[in-house]
């Protein structure tokens, strides 16, 4: 075990939190945002659907799926940047579990 600079650890946490807030904002707009403005948006038509219906039935779900994969990928990238080794995570994790 070696100590790492608190600033480095903090910036790891800050980067992840910042990304998370961005993802939440996008997801929120795609779902709650569209519902809130459903009536005015219904005049726009996309692929035969009124826009609000399209977002509810397909657009929001696709957005969520993409956000989750982006999060997983970006999470890996951040881990790499800070020198986190997944194999070691696995070892530590299997040892840390409270066994009973």
């Amino acid at each position: 075990m070696k100590k790492i600079d608190k600033k480095v650890a903090d910036s790891y946490f800050r980067e992840k939190t910042r990304n998370m807030i961005i993802y939440f904002a996008i997801g929120f707009l795609a779902s709650f945002g569209v519902v809130f403005f459903a009536e005015p948006l219904s005049d726009i038509s996309i692929n035969g659907f009124p826009f609000h219906y399209f977002m509810g039935a397909q657009g929001a779900v696709l957005t969520f799926i993409i956000l989750l994969f982006v999060n997983a990928k970006m999470g890996d990238a951040i881990d790499r940047k800070y020198g986190i080794d997944e194999n070691k995570n696995e070892q530590i994790s299997s040892g840390k579990v409270l066994d009973h």
């Binding site: 790492i4 659907f49 530590i92 409270l98």
Partner: protein, 556 residues
């Protein structure tokens, strides 16, 4: 005994043989295998298992029907039940995985260092999972009832016996791999009829692209009939109800014990993150198809069934009328069945549509098998959650800490049997449609676990008094709102029983924060454990410093 019965039954039996085979092959021998499958499930397969666990009778049997009857307003279920995975995967799953426990009550009990909180959380788990399983059992009742052409009640009883046997036997390890198989069966069974209907009606094999026009066309038909357009927003409730329901379903997803436990079955935080992504991809396949299913069913019913002579209705109507879930009455006595004289229950749309659209024996049988897979897999996960809350959190951690592994496993199995029987009794006279019952379970999870877990993971100052107050206030407010809204007719901003979680969550967050601040801060050790959840496994937070565990040593 007609051919359809034989075909459906043999498909169902063949899939059952597959599940049971997998369960026997993977039978749990140790406690850790019973509860968390030895924690070695790879993310893609875990994603499928989460998908099967997640997509219940409500998603498979109930959702398309709900969307068909509610129109746009039913889409709250689509967005709510998928969007919840953002909350879960970002806010809770990896952190809870790092904390490394067996169950949600165990996290709450250890994080807040309180047996009282543990027992309350265990009771909440039991209440939530129990409510949810009522919906599953009444769903399997619909399937079995149709199959044997008997009353749905009798079907429910047969389902109870099946589920009790099946969940008690395998534990989590058996269930995880069985669920992977169940996911494959249920998604095929769901998508095939939608593709066929899409071909039949639009000539395009990709339903996701083709049903947009239909939605518009049905709007015109509705205008001619003088009813509100299919896609018109907020015709069945206020905008606030839509938003409240959507929030409740999202936050409830993040707080459902039987779903969270799924993220304990993977190896690391990274695996938890990927599991969430894969899970939503697999779940999304069905959720993107459900509104298409709804649109095609409605279109067929409107154009091919409504308007036909009451004496010349197709054969499928009789079998469904027998289950008590379909009514065709010639109200105005003109000998013709009008659109508004056709009363179809939410719960049979998916099951009946393949027959209505004449998709053939095999597809009808496949849909029945898929519906059984959905009901069984979720019921299995729910029963594990109930039995672990009782056998692990209450019996072992509080009542009898010295009990042997053998005793604990047998307590776990018996609690499954008893819980299934009780839920089955209530499901005989279900208090609502499947999706509605399930929405109550989500409201309860939103009002209790969502605030408790989010604050437990993200706010180190939250303490045992706070979480106890939060859980009790959240549970009380949610239950009170569900009952007063459903039976007393009391609503705020038009928000009905299914959106109750919004008030429960707000009250629980407030109670947790206020009480925590008024009482002493948690111990230094607990606060450090919470800080530690900010970092991946390899970084360890200790005495205000962060350490890098480079040698991968297991001593922490």
């Amino acid at each position: 005994m007609d051919t359809q019965f034989l075909v459906s039954l043999s498909i169902i039996l063949a899939t059952f043989a597959l599940y049971i085979g997998i369960a026997i092959y993977n039978k749990a021998k140790e406690t850790s295998e019973f509860y968390v499958a030895g924690r070695g499930v790879p993310p893609v397969f875990n994603g499928m298992a989460i998908g099967a666990d997640w997509m219940s009778a409500a998603s498979f049997i109930g959702m398309a029907g709900t969307i068909m009857l509610l129109g746009y307003d039913g889409l709250a279920y689509i967005m709510g039940w998928t969007g919840g995975y953002l909350l879960l995967t970002f806010l809770l799953a990896p952190q809870l995985r790092k904390y490394g426990r067996y169950t949600v009550p165990e996290f709450i009990g250890d994080r807040f260092d309180s047996h009282t909180a543990r027992v309350i959380a265990a009771l909440c788990t039991i209440i939530i999972s129990f409510t949810y399983s009522i919906g599953q059992l009444s769903g399997s009742g619909v399937v079995i009832g149709r199959l044997f052409e008997i009353d749905a009640k009798l079907g429910t009883m047969i389902g109870v016996v099946l589920i009790a046997f099946y969940a008690a036997f395998g534990g989590m390890k058996g269930i995880t791999w069985t669920q992977v198989a169940q996911y494959v069966i249920l998604i095929i069974a769901y998508i095939i009829p939608v593709v066929f209907m899409s071909l039949q009606i639009t000539g395009n094999p990709a339903p996701w692209l083709s049903y947009g026009e239909l939605v518009g066309k049905m709007g015109e038909l509705d205008r001619e009939l003088g009813i509100s357009e299919y896609f018109a927003p907020f015709t069945n409730g206020t905008k606030w109800q839509f938003l409240a329901l959507m929030f409740t379903l999202m936050a409830g997803t993040a707080g459902l014990p039987h779903v969270i436990v799924r993220f304990y079955t993977v190896s690391t935080m990274k695996a938890a993150r990927w599991s969430g992504a894969w899970a939503l991809l697999f779940i999304g396949l069905l959720y993107l198809s459900a509104p298409a299913y709804a649109a095609f069913s409605r279109f067929i019913l409107m154009t091919q069934v409504a308007g036909s002579k009451i004496t010349e209705l197709p054969a499928w109507t009789k079998t469904w009328v027998d289950t008590g879930k379909l009514q065709v009455a010639d109200g105005n006595g003109d000998g013709v069945l009008q659109w508004n004289e056709l009363i179809i229950s939410n719960d049979i749309v998916v099951m009946a549509t393949p027959e209505i659209a004449n998709l053939g024996l095999f597809v009808i049988g496949l849909v029945a098998a898929g519906a059984m897979a959905a009901a069984l897999s979720t019921a299995g996960g729910l029963m594990i959650a109930i039995s672990s809350a009782f056998a692990h959190d209450i019996f072992y951690r509080v009542l009898k800490p010295n009990s042997t592994e053998k005793t604990r496993l047998s307590v776990a199995r018996w609690s499954i049997v008893i819980a299934t029987l009780l839920a089955g009794l209530i499901a005989l006279n279900p208090p609502g449609a499947i999706t509605q019952i399930v929405a109550w379970a989500f409201a309860l999870a939103t009002g209790t676990f969502f605030p408790a877990l989010v604050l437990g993971v993200w706010w180190k100052r939250s303490n045992s008094q706070g979480v106890i107050a939060g859980l009790l206030v959240g549970l009380g407010v949610t239950l009170a709102y569900i009952f007063t809204a459903k039976y007393g007719g009391f609503t705020i901003l038009g928000i009905i029983d299914t959106g109750a979680g919004v008030f429960g969550a707000a009250a629980a967050f407030a109670a947790n924060i206020i009480v925590s601040l008024m009482t002493a801060a948690p111990s230094q050790k607990i606060q450090e454990e919470v800080m530690d959840l900010r970092y991946p496994e390899q970084m360890v937070y200790k005495d205000g410093e962060v350490w890098m565990n480079d040698d991968g040593s297991k001593s922490v």
